[in-house]
Structure formats: structure tokens, C-alpha cells
Amino acid sequence: MSSHGITDRVAVIGMGCTPFAEHWDASLDDLIIDAAHSACRSASIAQGGIDAFWFGTSQSAASGLGMAGPLKIQGKPVTRVENYCATGSEALRQACYAVASGAYDTAMALGAEKVKDGGYQGLNAFPIPADGTQRTLTAAAMFSLMLPAYADRYGVDRDELRYVAARIASKNHHNGARNPLAQFRREMPAERICEMPAVAGMLSVFDCAGVADGAAAAIVCRAEDAHRWCADPLYVKGLSVVAGTGAGSLDPDYDYTTMPECAQAAADAYAQAGVTDPRSQLALAEVHDCFTPTELVLMEDLGFSPRGTAWSDVLDGVFDLDGELPVNTDGGLKSFGHPVGASGLRMLYEVWLQLRGAAPAERCIPDTDRTLGLTHNLGGYPGEIVSFVGVFGTERGH
């Protein structure tokens, strides 16, 4: 594969993020305006100084008009992108490539979702006319397939693995409790999560991401121009997207203990960024913990833990806020909430804060010499995934 990347050619110079919440009193337009204006203030750039816009939303709007209208973007290109729950990261990726190509000096990537106006709990895809043979399972049920599969493959007791999953949720609640923007700010002991009734497979409601409205935005420019707007920019080290073929739902060799698309995207992004040992090189990772088994398996797919050992690393606190490699320091999808199109950029927002020392003191990652952060964002289900991995750093190489 010829994936050359754009390492150190693009910089993030400003970001904004709304609270993620059930925004009964805020519209999609309100969320877009709040995130975009916040990002502009962060970069000390006027909206009129941004050359092009990428608008990530999964189900809340259908075109670039959904962003151009509320922000009154005059005479500029605005493109809506969608790639399931990886939509926000996809908007970022398009904006970065546009700037790297030389087509524009500056670009904004904004992700926004208004999910709570639907009247139902959970996320609900709107139906595309089809032959009626497609599955109607919830995402929770699809991801629930991974826990028993993992337990069987690696010989982990199911009850112990159930605790491991709860431990992941509990960690993310711990982190989210220290995040004023997060949807859920209450700590939750793993033991209590284990006692909750199952809603899908072994999973309880507390194994599932929060469902929230929200928006997040990033402004990018050519790396060499970054200091015109920002004293401490983040440099884009690697961006990768891998879309699966749905092989896991076709191929009996797939066993639901991994998401190959995520491992492939990570390998590509690491190659671009020069990452050889993510566990020791990354200062933090924001990963797509849509359900607790997802985060468990991602620790292996992203190369943080050898195969079959993530469960014990979780128990050992490796990924805790003060651990060897903090994961989801902002609370993750679990606690921060998951406004689909915004989540990928929300992850970058946390990397933006943490690597630059701007995170609130109560959730700062350990002070190390590590300068890289990772975001991982996926859409789909085990067996049929679209995965994004991005690596960002505070140091610009040569």
C-alpha cells in the first residue's frame, strides 16, 4: 500500500467543543455555532479567514448547507461528510488533506449531531430502502458478541471478563467526572455495574456509550504557518482510514476477538507517524469506547497490549488516568457522550488539551517526555467496521 501520509505538513491551531448533553434547549444550529465560534476564538482567527469547511454529521443534516446556513459562511466551499460513527474524524481528515494539498491555507473540520430529537433511547439509523433481509440488531448486541468470544479464545473466566468490562466503564466514568463538558459526571464502581441487568448479551446499560447532542470543531493550517495563529499548535503525524468489506459477517474464520480494520488503520497511521511502540511512545489515547468490549479489544488492535493480555492490563490499571498509557482521559464515549458526528473531533479536543498542558488539573495525564497522542474512531460493527486512527504531536520533525 502506498500510504504516504502528510506528516508534519498540517497543524491544528484551534479547537472548540460544546458540552455533550441532552441539549433539549439547543438546536443543531446552536451547537454548530457554539463549536465553530469557540474554535475561531481558540485560534484567534476570524471565520472569514478560513478558506474551506468540512462538516461531519451522520444523521442530523444532509449537505454542506447545514453548516453554511447557521454560520453564514459566505461564498466558501462547505462539504458534508459521513462515515458512520467515524464521521467527525473523516471531516478532520478531509480538511487536513485539503490544506496539505496546497488547495487552501486554512480549513475547518466540524462535527455535530443532534440525536435527542428523535424521541427514542439509543441511536437509531434512519432506514435506507432495502429488501428487508438486513439485520435489525442494536449496536449493543453486535458488540456484545465480543465478550464471550474473547473469554473463550483466551481462557478468561466470563465473570472475570464481565468485571474487566465494568472496570473499563468505571475508569471512563472516573475520568468523565473530572470533565465539565462530559454528559455523565458521576463515578461508578465496577462492582455496581456488574450488578446491573443485562440488556444485550452480558452488557448492561452502563457498558454503553452515553447518547448526547454536541459539536466539536478544529481549525487546521499549513504547518509552517501555524505560529501565525498559535503558539503551541498540534502537528498532524498520521491519519488513516480503513473500511472493511463486511468480511466478519461472511467469513467463518472471523472470531469476534478483534477488529482487523482497526489494526490495519493503526499500522498505517503508526508507519506515517514513525510510531514503533505505541504503549511507550503515546502520552495518551482517545479510543472509540462505544461499548466496553470495544475498548478492551482496541487495546490489542491498537498495539497497546499483546493479544490476549488487554484484560489483565485493564485490571492492572495500565490505562487509568495515572497509568502507563492513559486511555479516554476525558471520559470517552462512555462518559463524555456520543453525538455521532462530533465524537472524532471531541477525541482530538482532549489530545489538544492534554498534550499542550491545557487540561484541567484534576485530569492531567502524568508528566512525561511523551509528545504524541492518538485518536481512534470507528463506525459499524465487529466484522464490518470503518476505522480511523490519527496520531498528533507537539513537536514538528523535519
Binding site: Q121, P129, G132, L137, T138, P148, A198, G201, S249, P252
Partner: protein, 480 residues
Amino acid sequence: MRGVISAAGYVPYRRLDRSEIAAFFGSGGGTGTRAVASYDEDTTTMGQAAADLALRAATAGPEAVWFATSAPAYLEKTNAAAIHAALRFDPAVSALDFGGAVRSGVGALHAALAGRGRTLVVAADARDGLPAGADEASAGDGAAAVLVGDDSDGPVLAEYLGGACRTLEVTERWRIPGGARSRAWEERFGAHVLGPAAAEAWQAALDASGVDGTAGIDRLAVTGLNSRAVATALKAIGAKADSLVDPLINTVGNTATAHPALLLCSALEHAAPGETVAVVALADGVETIVLRAGEAIADHRPVAPIAGQIAQRGSLSYGRFLAWRNMVTVEPPNRPAPARPSSSAANRRTDWKYGFTGSRDRSSEMVHLPPARVSQKGGAADDMDPAPMAHSTGTVASFTVDRLAYSPSPPTVFAVVDFDGGGRVPLELTDVDADEVHVGMRVVPTFRRLYTADDIHNYFWKARPVRDGASGAEPPGASL
């Protein structure tokens, strides 16, 4: 020689214990059980199941499918066409509905026996009645399929000797379209008119078939919705007690339109070469059919004998029965109901949606479910053969119980199924209790109605456990 080439009955998995009705209401119900179509079954899917069982034992397919039911899934649209598609018949095979009347089931069978060509007669019924009423308890759901043809079409299990009918215009049992239940006049009146008609038709049928008197009939099935009329007819015929075929009322219940064919199938499963078998059906008069088992009956090995299907049953609570029959409305999961399937999209994929046929890549041999144009292994394009999977057996590779998803009967039990000989597909499980599912469980595909939206029934395939019906053992698992 013309007669029955193949025959099979279908009894749905769930049973309602009639004593549960009295336990709930304080009266009604009675003893024994009745068969209950699952929430995802209708007369079309049950008919398909019976037809599939009948055809598995036959060497030649039909030239026509005739489908009879008093509970059609659709009016105006031909229900036999869905059975036709699910059995992957050639478009040149005719598919016709015999609609509405309970008598249409035995009538279609009689017409096929007296007619020409290879005709697959399918009769199915799903019977409702108001709670605590006699119909609710005595009725049953089920189907039967009989392949009728000449000896040039294959060995004849039972030769058609002759028959007779009597037709009465009488308002004895009736229902208007859309009515939730059928109505009946005083039972004694029905016995008064149907009894003598049965005696006349019986004698005419014996004369037509050259059988010397009632004593010459070895196996006799007399059926009708009016049990007093049935008793009167039996008396008028002078039936020998030891010739009577088990009417299946205590186990299955009266499947009305399907019942004459179901009892015929049951009789043929026990008949010896040379034995005479007669069916007398009372509905708006009488239809009488007389057959003689041929030498081929000795080799008749039903794929799923009716007795075995009766034995392999799962219990169903009365509350869930009422919910399944729309007699009570239960709170659904707070999720949007599914959208109607697209007719054009479904039509393009008829062989997948109805025929459960995927594709097999010629170069890699990989089976693709649903069918694909480009292979997952090797990427070969447009180089695949059809891969029919309806008769495959698979193994549960992984499963989950989804208590959040929309379902007409939550929770949804879903499994990733790997088929013997290749092919994986995630399928919903049915006729199963959530706590009996396990990795490694053996399952087979079954044609079901997933849901109905905008009055469009969404038919597709699920998987159900392979159960040991031959042993007659009580299946494991908790009751629903």
C-alpha cells in the same frame, strides 16, 4: 394410476396448555394442548414448511402449487407465490390461492386428485377465537402439503380410488373478511344438516371407489369444525372404532382448512400397502376422498413425522399466546418499528430473500451470504454460482440476546451461523428459549415473517435449533 406422490404435515413448535386458559379466566380451556404458530409464522410460512417437507421426499417437483387457507396473509396478492419463491420453483410453475373457506383445503386436494398433472396442494391455517371461548381452545395451527400426480411422476404412495361431495348452502360457520373470529350457529343445527349429507357422500364415495362398505376402509379420518356433526357423521357412516385416525385434537387442535390433509398425512405415515384410507371433511357440506396405499408406502420415510413434530414441543404461556394473537397489546421496546421492505429491492433479490440462496465463488469456493458479485477471497468478479442454503445445517459460532432491539416478541436472540460446507450469516433464532442457546448449537434455516410494516409482510429466513424429534423427548429450555 393417480394419487399421492408425497405428503407431509407441519406442526409449529409452540404449544398452549389448555389448562392455562382456565387458570387465567376461571373457566374454559379444557384439557390437552393446542399448537400455536409462532409470532413470526403465518399460514404462508407454515404452508412453505409443510411443502418443503413433502418435496424433500419427492423425486419430481410440481407443475402447480395450490394454496388453501381461511387465514390468508394477503388478499389480492397471491400467497402461493411466496411459497413458490421460497421453494425456488421455476416461474413456469403455476401458483394459485384457494381462498377463504375452510372447505377450500379439502376441496383443493380433491380437485388435484381428480385432475391432471403434478399438483402440490398446500393447506394451512392459523385459528383464532376470542379469549376463553371454545374456538380458541379447540383450534390449532398447522399445515399440510400433498403432492398429487400420476405413477409416471414417481411411486404413488396412495392411489385415488374415488370420492364424492355434497354441497349445502348453510350459514353454519362463518366470518366476514377482517373479522377477528368466526361465528357458529347452534351446534345441533349443524349436526342436523351435515350428518345426513355425510352419510350420502360416504355411500357415493364408496360406490365411486369400488370399496365394499364401511368395513372395507382401514383408516378413516372424519373432521370438521362442528364436533357434534363429526360425531353424527361417524355414527351415520358406521365407522369401526379401530379404523379411526387420531383426530389430533388433544395435541394439535383443529387446524380447520389444513386438517383433512394433515390427518391424511398422518394416516399415510402409518398405513401399510393395500390399506384403504378415507377422509371425510364436513364444511358447507361434505367432501369425501378414498385412497388405497400402494407398495411404495412401505418405503415412505417422512422427513419429519407428524408424531415426532407433536413430541418436540415448547410450551407457551397464555399471556404470550394472547400477545402473539393480538388479543392483548403489550408494550414494545422504545425503539422505532422497522420500515417496510422495498418491493423493488426485494424483487431484485427474490432468490436470496425467499429462496435463501447465496453465491459460491468458483475460484475460491467461498460462499457469500447474501450473494455477492465480487468475491471476498481473491476478488474475482461475476464468477459465482448460486448457493442454495435452505437445506443446510449450521452451527452457532456466537450469539447474543438483544433486549433493546425492536421485535414483535422480545427479546431478540441472534446468532452468527456457520453452515456446513461453507457460508456464514448472522441470523435471528426462533422456536428457541434464550437460555438454551449455546455456541455449537446446531441450527437449520426456517422461512419466517420478520415483521409487517405498511401492510407489507417482510418474509425472510431465521434459524431454529435442530431437535431430536424421533426420541419424543421433552426439549430442554425454560418456557416462554
